[in-house]
Structures are given as structure tokens and as C-alpha cells.
């Protein structure tokens, strides 16, 4: 498996799209930090980039990369290598590359401008978010053979988690505003890793104005530290679950 990771890394690090991703992230981080006098304002602006751009690039890049490496995967399956090692090798390779890009593009500037615990939580939350969407991309890639359909599914997932889900949440709250909704809200938030990433950072930053309803409920219910631990745990489940399902499907897939 280590060898597969090595060859995937060798392949991806020469990829121009990944380089463009690093440049885009660095430009937005440095730009936002320099424009805002206040570091925490810069960080909260950067949070928007984190919640929209990072999931989008992670899921799209991974799906496209998977389909472009289909030949490579086929070649490996004909060799005496376990299918689980092949898929997890490619997964680890893609995940490591996107994480590295994120660490250079956003992690480094955040540490330079805000070396506090908040900055580190910001990076942790972005790293988890990256891996969640890499996992989801693998799931989208193995359930179909067709590249266009795979990318379509990946886009739909992104749309769902970044836009549609919030709409549904709002509708639920509006419709049932007469009832106590705290527990339901916590449950619904757990269904959206993007929201969890946001809550995780905002709980640490302690900006109640930006927390939104779900963040406020988390804060009220768990307090900031337990809330962070909980959202982190649920995000880990969001990483493990899709890739496990993808692995099960891939083991029986006809290539």
C-alpha cells in the first residue's frame, strides 16, 4: 500500500490543478488577512472560503482524478495486490496531496497571522473537511462507471451540503418554530459536515454573532469545548463512513 501511495503522490504533485489550488488558497488567505486590520475578522472571512472552496475543490479534484486514474487502477487490479490496498492507497495519496495543498495555502498564512489555538482549530477543521469530501468523492466515483455521471454526483453532493441543506434546515425551523427544536437542530447539524466545520471554528472563536442558530444551540447545549469535541467526532464518522462504503462496493466491482 505504501508503494501505491508513493506512486499516486508522484503523479499528483506534478499536477497543475493542484498547484493552482495552492495559489488560489494562498492568495485568498494573504489577501483577507492583509485587508482586515483585525486578525479575527480576517479569519472569519477566510472561513467562507474554507466552507465553500475547500469542499468544492476536494470533491471535484478527487472525482476527476479517480476517473483519470481508472487505467492505473485497472492495471493494479490485474497485479497480485489486494483491492482494498489499491483503493486505500489511492485514497491516502489523494487525501495527502489535498491536505498538503490546504496546509500550504491556508494553514501557513493562518499560523503566520494567528498562531493561537483558534488558528490551529481552523486548520484542523479545514483538514477534516477536506478528508470528508475526499471520502464522499470516492463514494461518488465507485458507484458509477461513467465519468460524467460521477462528476455530476460529486457536484450534487457539494450543492446539497453547502446550499440545499441550509435551505431545508431553515424550512424545518420556520415550519416548526412553535416547538422546542434544540435537539432536532443538533441532530440535523450532524448530518452536514460543512455546518459542523463551521460550528467547530466559531465555537473556538466565540463570535456569537456569526454562530447562527445551529452554532448557538451547540454552544448552549454543550459549551464550547464539548461542542468542539462532538463536532470533531461526527466529522470523523463522516470521513470513515463514505470511504468504508466505497471500499465495500469497490471490492465487488467489475472492472
Amino acid at each position: 500500500m505504501n508503494k501505491i501511495i508513493k506512486y499516486v503522490l508522484h503523479d499528483i504533485f506534478r499536477n497543475r490543478i493542484l498547484l493552482a489550488y495552492v495559489v488560489l488558497l494562498s492568495l485568498s488567505s494573504f489577501g483577507l488577512f492583509m485587508m482586515n486590520e483585525d486578525v479575527s475578522k480576517g479569519l472569519s472571512s477566510l472561513l467562507t472560503v474554507l466552507l465553500i472552496v475547500v469542499p468544492l475543490v476536494s470533491i471535484l479534484f478527487t472525482t476527476i482524478y479517480f476517473f483519470n486514474s481508472y487505467e492505473f487502477i485497472e492495471l493494479l487490479v490485474a497485479q497480485p495486490l489486494k483491492r482494498s490496498n489499491i483503493l486505500l492507497g489511492v485514497y491516502a495519496g489523494v487525501g495527502l496531496s489535498l491536505l498538503t495543498a490546504f496546509w500550504i495555502g491556508i494553514g501557513l498564512p493562518v499560523i503566520i497571522f494567528d498562531g493561537t489555538a483558534t488558528g490551529w482549530y481552523f486548520i484542523l477543521s479545514g483538514s477534516l473537511l477536506t478528508m470528508v469530501f475526499v471520502s464522499l468523492a470516492f463514494l461518488a466515483s465507485v458507484i458509477t462507471r461513467d465519468k460524467t455521471r460521477g462528476i455530476g454526483i460529486a457536484m450534487m453532493l457539494w450543492f446539497y451540503f453547502t446550499l440545499i441543506f441550509d435551505g431545508i434546515l431553515l424550512m424545518v425551523m420556520f415550519a416548526f418554530s412553535d416547538y422546542p427544536l434544540e435537539k432536532l437542530t443538533i441532530f440535523l447539524s450532524c448530518l452536514n459536515p460543512v455546518d459542523l466545520a463551521r460550528i467547530m471554528v466559531l465555537l473556538k472563536m466565540d463570535i456569537s454573532a456569526l454562530m447562527g442558530y445551529t452554532g448557538a444551540v451547540f454552544n448552549q447545549f454543550f459549551g464550547s469545548s464539548l461542542g468542539i469535541v462532538l463536532s470533531m467526532t461526527v466529522m470523523l464518522i463522516w470521513i470513515i463512513l463514505p470511504i468504508s462504503i466505497a471500499l465495500r462496493i469497490f471490492k465487488r466491482k467489475n472492472l
Binding site: D11, E71, E74, V77, A78, P80, L255
Partner: protein, 235 residues
């Protein structure tokens, strides 16, 4: 050496294999022959574990291959269309395959085809820049690389130039004499006649017959294999 027992596979509603049973022994060249879409490639992919059969089983040296990967150490495979990572240079590809297959060989890599096809000259080229024929040469060189006991070649000479296909045929004969089992698929009857010992004829996912070429000829009284097969099938 390889036993197929009632192998079945369907893709959706299409039944690709309908219970094929065949036995392949070492030191021979077996040609899988049959119309397009008769299930030859599916059969090969089942052997390689790339497609998982719905029913029946495959024994490799008496061991069921389901869930196993180690038996693949002893198989070399040349696909019908060799597809490789676009950006990878040819030299790097060979290096990688050797690295991944280090535990597959006891002595040294078989690089004979690499030399006779003059592939080393093109080691700096990325795989996407290669012609179809050159990719076929790469596939062939990789199939023999690990000195495997079983060599599976899916339409090996399609797309190869005359010289290269002659080199490949000679290599096949050489390995056969060394005691290997070689499975090929081909639509070119003159070629099958030249290199194969027996024919497994597959139609619509079933093995119609599995005979020695000599027997087919003497049975039908025809000199040419193509004609003999035509006789046998139109009966």
C-alpha cells in the same frame, strides 16, 4: 492447472457466461475463439479477478481463487487495449511495475521483449504520446516480465506490426516449450493455427467444444483451420 467449474456472469440482463467448464494444463497454447461478445474477455477477466463471477468457481492449482490475490503472482496478462497513466513516462512505468512486483520473481526479470522491441529507446516518452502499437508492445513486455507460469494474452497481435507480431509469436513458442500455459484470444485463424495447440470455442457464454487443432482437422478432413472450423460449426 486452471479449472473453470460452471462459471457464470451476467451484467444486468446480459448473460455473459452461462456456466463454462474448462480445464487448462501447462505446456500448451490454448486459443479462446468465438464471435465478438461471446464472453472471451469476461472469462479472462474472471481469471484475473477483475470481474467477480456470479456462479461457479475457478481453481488455480486446485485452490479456489475467490478472495485470493497471491495466485496472480504467477499470471502475466496482456490486455486487449493497454491503457496506462497518461503522464507516466515509459521508463517510470516499467520501474514502477518491477517495484510493485518485486516479490513475484525468484531470479531475474524477463526483459527479453523489452530488448527485442527496442522499447528502451522510448523510455523518456510519456505513455500518452505512444501509438497504439507501441502500447501493445509495452503490454506484451509487461506480461512476460515476471516469468509467470501462466500467460494470458487478449488479442495479442492486433495492432502490432508484422515484425513485432513475429517476435511475439516466437516468444510464445519459447515460453510454451519452457512449460508455461499460454491462453490467447484471437480472431485470426491462420495465427491460431500457427501458435495454438488447441481451441476452446465459446459461443454466447458457453464452451461449444475444446479440442486439439490436429483433431479438428482430421475430424473434418480439412487442411485449413478456418475451413475446418466452418465445417464443424455448420454441422
Amino acid at each position: 492447472m486452471i479449472e473453470l467449474e460452471g462459471l457464470q456472469k451476467h451484467y444486468g440482463k446480459i448473460q455473459a457466461l452461462r456456466g463454462i467448464s474448462l480445464n487448462f494444463d501447462p505446456e500448451q497454447v490454448v486459443a479462446l475463439v468465438g464471435p465478438n461478445a461471446s464472453g472471451k474477455t469476461t472469462l479472462i477477466k474472471c481469471l484475473l479477478g477483475m470481474v467477480i463471477p456470479d456462479g461457479g468457481r475457478i481453481l488455480f492449482d486446485k485452490n479456489d481463487i475467490a478472495g485470493d490475490v497471491n495466485y496472480k503472482r504467477r499470471i502475466g496478462y496482456m490486455p486487449q487495449i493497454g491503457r496506462y497513466p497518461d503522464n507516466m513516462r515509459m521508463g517510470y512505468l516499467f520501474g514502477m511495475m518491477k517495484d510493485l512486483g518485486k516479490n513475484r520473481i525468484t531470479e531475474h526479470f524477463d526483459e527479453e521483449l523489452l530488448a527485442t522491441f527496442n522499447l528502451e529507446e522510448m523510455f523518456a516518452k510519456p505513455m500518452r504520446a505512444l501509438s497504439g502499437g507501441t502500447r501493445q508492445k509495452v503490454s506484451a513486455a509487461l506480461a512476460f516480465m515476471f516469468n509467470p507460469d501462466v500467460i494470458i494474452l487478449d488479442e495479442p497481435t492486433a495492432g502490432l506490426d508484422p515484425l513485432a507480431s513475429e517476435i511475439l509469436k516466437q516468444k510464445i513458442q519459447k515460453e510454451r516449450k519452457a512449460g508455461k500455459l499460454i491462453l490467447i484470444t484471437s480472431h485470426i485463424m491462420s495465427e491460431v493455427e500457427e501458435i495454438a495447440d488447441s481451441i476452446a470455442y465459446i459461443v454466447e457464454g458457453e464452451a461449444k467444444f475444446f479440442k486439439r487443432i490436429q483433431d479438428i482437422k482430421s475430424e473434418t478432413g480439412e487442411e485449413r483451420l478456418g475451413k475446418a472450423l466452418f465445417h464443424l460449426l455448420s454441422k
